[in-house]
Subunit: 373 residues, 4 copies
């Protein structure tokens, strides 16, 4: 049936979990939202022709290739989507930018801030649109939280507590693989980045940090029958100062036994407070200090049509959005930015910024001293 919208052809590089999740996001965004483009799964690349062909068939791409550069060289492709291991992001993204493609890249943008900054600068020079995948920020509840802060509804913001803790490295017999590589590894870089992104998304720029990185499990299997000493952090903490005058703390842990997705925050203002936990991503706990005496308390706001773009998914509150729905919202934001309808929601500059803050915290921890940003 004739769809009058212009096509936006996607070329995906990388077909692991995040690659698959991105295709869910494209497919859903196409239907859930009234996008300015018709998203087309044009081509997918993996390490071999066979792997790529299999993924192409499974994910529904029109063509596939064992050579990622043929995605770059394909003139029909508008957007290059990179979901490969972190170490490959830079080369691929720079090539895509050079070819004039818009680039969508999973987080972290690159293992080192300097590389991420180079990528951001290249994108800005080329004038293309970029996006880094921080999907937790795409939650209608998170958007609501930011509105409540920016509108002054919570008054002057005074303090922030943020955490991103999981348990997937709590078992000391888990070798950890690339995650424990001295260059770019560690809990704070891996998942603390989510907590930092949330912090700046909600409160604005961080201006100073004091880090505290701890290696709790000092030895892990090396995957070859022996053991190796671990240098990267299992737990990373930081004190924070924000440009808006607030102070805060943040913690990342990948050894938090029992925690599956403790991406939580607490924000205290002069007129109210909000509390959030990602494991209940459709809820915001809100305290309004001007409620009448004897009737005050944290209320649980459930996501609903009053909290866009929830209403695109469900007509009534109480139906839950899920993780994959957030990815559809992420895609929507990027596609709208490509069409010039809105600023980029979380571009390479923002992704580089997170890497810069992470490095400052890591340096601060090593130096045992505060660092200005």
């Amino acid at each position: 049936m004739a769809n009058s919208k212009p096509k936006l052809n996607i070329g995906l590089i990388g077909t692991g979990f995040m690659g698959k999740t991105h295709t869910f996001g494209f497919a859903a965004a196409n239907r859930v939202f009234d996008l300015p483009y018709d998203l087309v799964l044009r081509a997918v690349a993996d390490r071999t022709d066979e792997l790529a062909a299999a993924a192409g068939a499974e994910f529904g791409f029109e063509t596939s290739t064992g050579d990622w550069r043929s995605i770059i060289d394909d003139a029909s492709i508008d957007v290059v989507d990179i979901t490969t291991p972190n170490a490959l992001h830079k080369e691929m993204a720079l090539a895509a930018i050079a070819a004039g493609k818009h680039v969508y890249c999973e987080k972290p943008l690159a293992p080192l801030a300097a590389d991420a900054i180079e990528m951001a600068e290249a994108a800005e020079a080329a004038g293309i649109r970029t996006q880094v995948g921080f999907n937790y920020l795409c939650n209608p509840i998170m958007i609501l939280a930011r509105e409540m802060i920016q509108s002054g509804e919570l008054g002057e913001i005074r303090s922030f507590r943020g955490v991103h803790a999981e348990e997937f490295m709590a078992d000391a017999s888990n070798p950890g693989g690339f995650r424990v590589d001295p260059a770019g590894g560690g809990a704070f870089a891996d998942i603390g980045s989510h907590a930092l992104a949330t912090a700046e998304y909600l409160l604005g720029p961080i201006t100073a940090v004091m880090g505290d990185f701890v290696t709790a499990i000092k030895e892990r299997p090396d995957g070859k029958g022996g053991t190796r000493q671990i240098e990267v952090d299992d737990i990373g903490r930081a004190f924070l100062r924000f440009e808006n005058g607030a102070s805060g703390n943040i913690e990342a842990s990948w050894i938090a036994t029992g925690q599956e997705m403790q991406h939580d925050f607490e924000i205290y203002g002069s007129k109210g407070a909000i509390l959030f936990t990602q494991e209940r991503l459709n809820e915001l706990r809100y305290y309004n200090a001007s409620d009448p005496e004897g009737r005050r308390g944290f209320r649980t706001i459930l996501a609903g049509p009053e909290h866009p773009p929830y209403g695109r998914f469900c007509v009534a509150g109480g139906h839950q959005l899920g993780f994959n729905d957030l990815k559809a919202i992420e895609v929507q934001g990027f596609v709208q930015a490509i069409a010039g309808e809105r600023p980029e929601p979380f571009n390479f500059r923002a992704g580089a910024r997170i890497m810069t803050v992470i490095e400052a915290i890591a340096t601060s921890s090593k130096a045992r001293a505060w660092m200005e940003l």
Copy 2:
């Protein structure tokens, strides 16, 4: 790119909220699961050619029509999906069955149990596959709950408490429309059906009921500037007896101020208990009576890859499934049944059964006496 799977062509009749949700489900199921068919959005019908064409473009159907019978007559169509107002279900479903199509129909199957039974019998006689959309049952947590019951993990099941309460009719100035029609309307038929479906899904057949229907808001606007007397229930309750020996109660309310999706249950067995609330659909609260003394308590199990088919959506626990994901699972079950890979998850017979139980409860309420089933 060549997809070697056979196509399953879908014809959708009705393009409202549920029609849209179904297209989300088809699109997602195609990608999330490794289905035996490639689902194709072949044709969509609405009341006029223009409405149908608009929905076709928005939803991504290949063709559209203002005449639902042309969906029935289209030899290329394998599945007719009916999301029109309840009063139209029977005629459309019988026509589709007569044409040899598989039929997917939103709940309730028909306003009267007799009609629903007629539909079920027609489907069985024709040998086609049917499905009624009770998506709450498609939750991995609900599947887990049933396994825990059926495996004996909770011991002998002794009691059940179920509720489905919302607030959308709590405002007495809401006219209610078709929902308050004396024939087939009322809170219990509308949403109590969900609670009943959950009850029988988990505990098996109900054998006796005692109903208690209440019209709390006795007068509503008639939509023409006047008022009309309301006869249908705002709140419907029932005592239940199950074939497995358990007893229980159930309540439906559409005037439960503050409740958006209180589709909850509590089940008590001799070895344990489980508690669930739909507003936190990724959680099951579980009490194991054999935990050591001093360490007992209700634990919160979070849906994860250990609870199929969660792992098709996300690789790790703590990421949430949403309402629309349940619809994808519903589609998967139906498509697998069409391929003969599994029994129909919730066919017209099951849908008719729910209508029969609802009518028994309504009759019991009016007679103020227990009814056997």
Copy 3:
């Protein structure tokens, strides 16, 4: 140090758990509240002189006796407090009333409603003050809930759900003792009475009931090496009609595996709703339908000084009251009633009323028919 208050001499009959709890209540009430009397633990009676002497020393009574009638005959005693097994309440209370004592009696007032009514009538004829121990009602949060209902803050009250469920009889090897005696036993009489007391305390008189009593565990040990058939209910349910126009349901269960004190209610009005669970007795969940759109949700009100008499125990909110504190409040209410400062909070008439409603529900269950009250 001279305490200028008149003394109120207490004579306690029965030294089990509730007897001990009452002495906690007297001691605490004396200090926490500014009572019109100085409460004096004057005499305690138990089955033998030895038992009574031991309890007297432990509890701090001035004298003790193995003959409860000497409590009645003691002219110095103002209040007779009865915490003996239920079957003994009537004889003791009537004797105390005849002697002109004020009488404080644990619940249930008597196994049969007729006896309880006789006790209430005797008390009224004698003009003495009486109290039945329904301590859950003495919670500042419960008092708040009633105020919110009676002031109209929740609007027209439409529905009530109440439950009192525990697990202490869930083990089929528990003989049950007096609790499973055909006369006066059963879960509904034992603990459903609490749920009923809460229902009428909050919503006012019940006018009609439909009961449903179930014996889930049909055989228990007889304590002599054999088994006996159980006739009383393990689970008792009822539909309710209230004089104020609301309808509701209620459930009592002593086989609710995992539940230690599920004394909960949900009340829905036209302007708001309140939810409560006894296991978090310092919290009331409150929904205000007039909160702004997008900011609505159930808030958790924590008991604090704004909710009298909380402030007598703690100067700030967030410090919790405990079960024994409720007993101190119960004592306060009774003592103030004795001094003529307020009506009796829950007198024998109210206690008899509960027995009457219980019997109506039991009769209704047996007759399988609604009963008017």
Copy 4:
């Protein structure tokens, strides 16, 4: 009635909120526990004879005095209980110690660590028993948490998060009084001390700290119509290292809008984790990593008779202990220590230790550098 126990005569100095709470504690402990002594409220002192006489009558003391030194000089008094403003603790305690009395003192022991240490040394030299009032530690749930840690049930303890946040200073128009005095004031000293006490009670000695104190509200009314600059912290944070190898963080805030008693902790070990919030002081959330796959989750353990000394208060779980009950347990521990039945639960040395850690954190914050302890 003859009570054969020896008397322990109490002399209380100070009759404010904590003074009253202590008398609740003495009265309750006498009845709830089978103490080695009969506690006698012998004498109470306040600033004037009139105030003391009024409190004596209200609280039930035998005598009263306007001169606290007469409490010290009273040879019949065994225990001096000090609940006066902090600045007076030292002089009174040293006098009581010199007179050979056992001393019970509210927290903080003294505004400066040096003074607190002097008090501890004097007490040790005199051989008398001392106690500082950290009642949160007297919770059966807290005792359970420590047992789970010390027994190895949670495995190797890896991390700690602690907070004590309230909102009582969130309003910038609150002058703050003695709480904002540059010497000894501030949120961390005032309430962070509770979080520190919990941290060391559960995990053992802290060995290094990095502090971060923030004055969020820089100006408050001076109480004379003008304003004054505030120097003390509204929010105090610290990174922690423990002797047992764990690391952690801690936060104190008295401007946490909406929080009434957020005295919470999270502790992660290699075999499990526990979470606690003081606003639900009868609950411990516990994760057991060895629960079977698909059945893991944080369970809510409710305080019950399995968690001594809960059973002294109530015979069954699910009845809640309250704040004042914790004070009774605190009294019990001290009285048992006086009788030589157990070590002092939280003596002056422990109280001085808390002051030392607070000062180290404050110094660290000012120096912007880690401090060893």
